[in-house]
């Protein structure tokens, strides 16, 4: 068709106007998705740390994610005057503080151990109130009592503080959810623990958006939905984001031709440079993903965390699925957890007989670097595990990519592939994937509690986490039942 100059101008303008409108509409959608803050209930949380505490260059950036900390109500701590916080910032200063009058709760199980760490213990006081009043009045410089009582005292009186100095060594666990933002059951399981766990003894650290930058964009060329929703017990919905596997290019660009992992020197394909699970142990002034990984590594090191569990999902055609990958020093814990899961027997409300939760265990390859189970195991003193469940939306055999697929895992092509025996594990509903991750975490904790011994051989006793729903409860009620409504 021959166009006159005027007609050409009109047609071109119309086409460009349509393009601009489409650009604005999609731009707004992408922008809103990028800036959408997922709600997490933090009513059970004692402390919220930021990654930038450990990796300063992250401060003020989108990847400066939260680390939620929950202290055991029965942990033994030192109550001090807030003005003395600096004095009691370390164990050494607490032990060597001359002239400190220390009072102890007589019925505390940890009293003996706690008293042994301070200079001049005075035993025999009856209850927490006496200890609190002694510190308040100044007749005692340090009071030893349960975290639950100390926390209440600090909330009621801002002149009091809980000493940073460690009085009692307790076990701790870091749950990493949202390492890969396109593997939803990892994030949802971490959220389940965040919103339900009642820590009785020990310390629980949780990240729900381990690589937060990856939640600000979607996986290129996958046409994935931005959001999916879970129904809570009250019938309202919680919205979660479905992001990308990798850090957003807005935070880290360009990709090198070959990614050389630091410090191992291992070479990987270029796209892995933005994969946080190839970036550990990270670097304080490395690329953006390395800085995020560095924050996690430092969090584990500085808090002397006993165990790390990194929650993932994999496509059903991938060999490492329904599996626990463990650092070599954590082999006996992984095996013990596997045994407990395989022996798990329950009958669900719909009559389904759950005859064990099938799980594989794989040792972390010593020459594959950058992953949590390798580098956090090598560079920290924690027992480190990575768990995988079966996610159809991540696989390449799927048909239409919808939010239903993320939740139900139902896809006719995967059903067909399963019938042909081409899959390592059939894709399942997110309830079952979260239930699997949850029982993996609780089984590993139970395995640790059999000895209560850290990798360094130190006996720290049990990590007691209550109020976590069981496999069959999540299977019966759905994971949404255990999530709080948005406030």
């Amino acid at each position: 068709m021959k166009l006159t100059k005027k007609t050409n101008l009109i047609i071109t303008s119309c086409i460009l106007v349509v393009a601009i409108v489409v650009g604005i509409v999609t731009g707004i959608e992408f922008y809103d998705f990028s800036n959408y803050d997922t709600y997490f209930y933090t009513g059970n949380v004692d402390e919220i740390q930021k990654y930038s505490q450990y990796s300063p260059l992250l401060k003020g950036t989108v990847g400066d994610s939260n680390i939620y900390v929950m202290h055991g109500s029965e942990n033994t701590v030192a109550l001090i005057k807030a003005e003395d916080a600096q004095t009691y910032a370390s164990v050494e200063s607490l032990n060597n503080h001359d002239g400190a009058i220390v009072v102890a709760v007589s019925d505390s199980d940890q009293m003996t151990a706690a008293s042994a760490t301070v200079t001049k213990p005075v035993n025999g006081l009856a209850d927490a109130n006496q200890v609190i009043n002694a510190v308040k009045s100044g007749s005692a410089t340090v009071g030893i009592l349960r975290y639950e009582d100390a926390k209440k005292a600090v909330e009621e009186d801002e002149t009091l503080a809980i000493a940073q100095a460690e009085v009692e060594k307790v076990p701790s666990l870091l749950i990493l959810g949202g390492t890969h933002a396109n593997e939803p059951s990892g994030q949802i399981t971490a959220t389940l623990f965040l919103e339900n766990a009642d820590v009785q003894r020990g310390t629980l650290y949780i990240t729900t958006e381990t690589n937060r930058s990856a939640y600000t964009h979607s996986q290129p060329q996958e046409a994935s939905p931005f959001y999916y929703e879970l129904e809570t017990a009250s019938g309202s919905t919680r919205t979660f984001k479905f992001g990308s596997r990798a850090t957003n290019t807005n935070q880290q660009w360009p990709n090198p031709d070959i990614y050389t992992h630091s410090p191992s020197g291992q070479q990987l394909s270029s796209s892995e440079v933005r994969n946080i699970n190839r970036a550990y142990p990270g670097s304080v002034d490395g690329n953006y993903t390395e800085r995020v990984a560095y924050a996690i590594t430092q969090c584990v090191l500085q808090n002397d965390i006993s165990m790390v569990i990194d929650l993932h999902e994999a496509s059903p055609e991938y060999i490492t699925i329904n599996a626990i990958v463990y650092h070599q020093d954590a082999g006996y814990l992984a095996a013990s957890a596997q045994l407990a899961m395989e022996l798990y027997v329950e009958t669900a409300a719909d009559g389904t007989f759950i005859n064990g939760v099938e799980i594989k265990t794989d040792a972390s390859p010593t020459e594959l670097h950058g992953l949590t189970h390798r580098e956090l195991g090598d560079f920290t003193n924690a027992y480190v595990f990575l768990a995988e469940s079966s996610n159809a939306s991540q696989g390449k055999l799927r048909g239409k990519f919808t939010s239903d697929l993320i939740i139900t895992g139902e896809d006719k092509f995967y059903e067909w592939a399963d019938q042909l025996g081409l899959l390592y594990a059939a894709p399942v509903h997110i309830n079952e994937r979260v239930a699997r991750h949850t029982i993996t975490v609780t089984s590993i904790v139970d395995a640790f509690n059999n000895s209560g011994t850290t990798r360094l051989g130190e006996n720290v006793g049990q990590l007691v986490i209550n109020n976590v729903p069981s496999y069959v409860e999540i299977y019966d009620n759905g994971v949404g039942y255990y999530l709080h409504d948005v406030e």
């Binding site: 068709m1 021959k2 047609i11 460009l16 393009a19 650009g23 731009g27 660009w253 360009p254 002034d285």
Partner: protein
């Protein structure tokens, strides 16, 4: 390293902007409707990239 990446990003965005201008120019210049539509579709990606939205 941060300065290097900043300079690189500025160059990258300048290239995206220049290419966007060329695409618009080409959309006006070409007489084929299909080429105009293809150019307009391509332009959407370039503009989203230019503003670092996607």
């Amino acid at each position: 390293m941060a300065v290097y990446y900043t300079i690189l990003t500025v160059i990258y965005l300048a290239l995206v902007a220049i290419l966007s201008v060329f695409i618009v120019w080409n959309v006006f210049k070409t007489r084929k409707i299909t080429d105009k539509v293809i150019g307009a579709i391509a332009l959407i990606m370039f503009v989203l990239r230019l503003f670092l939205i996607k």
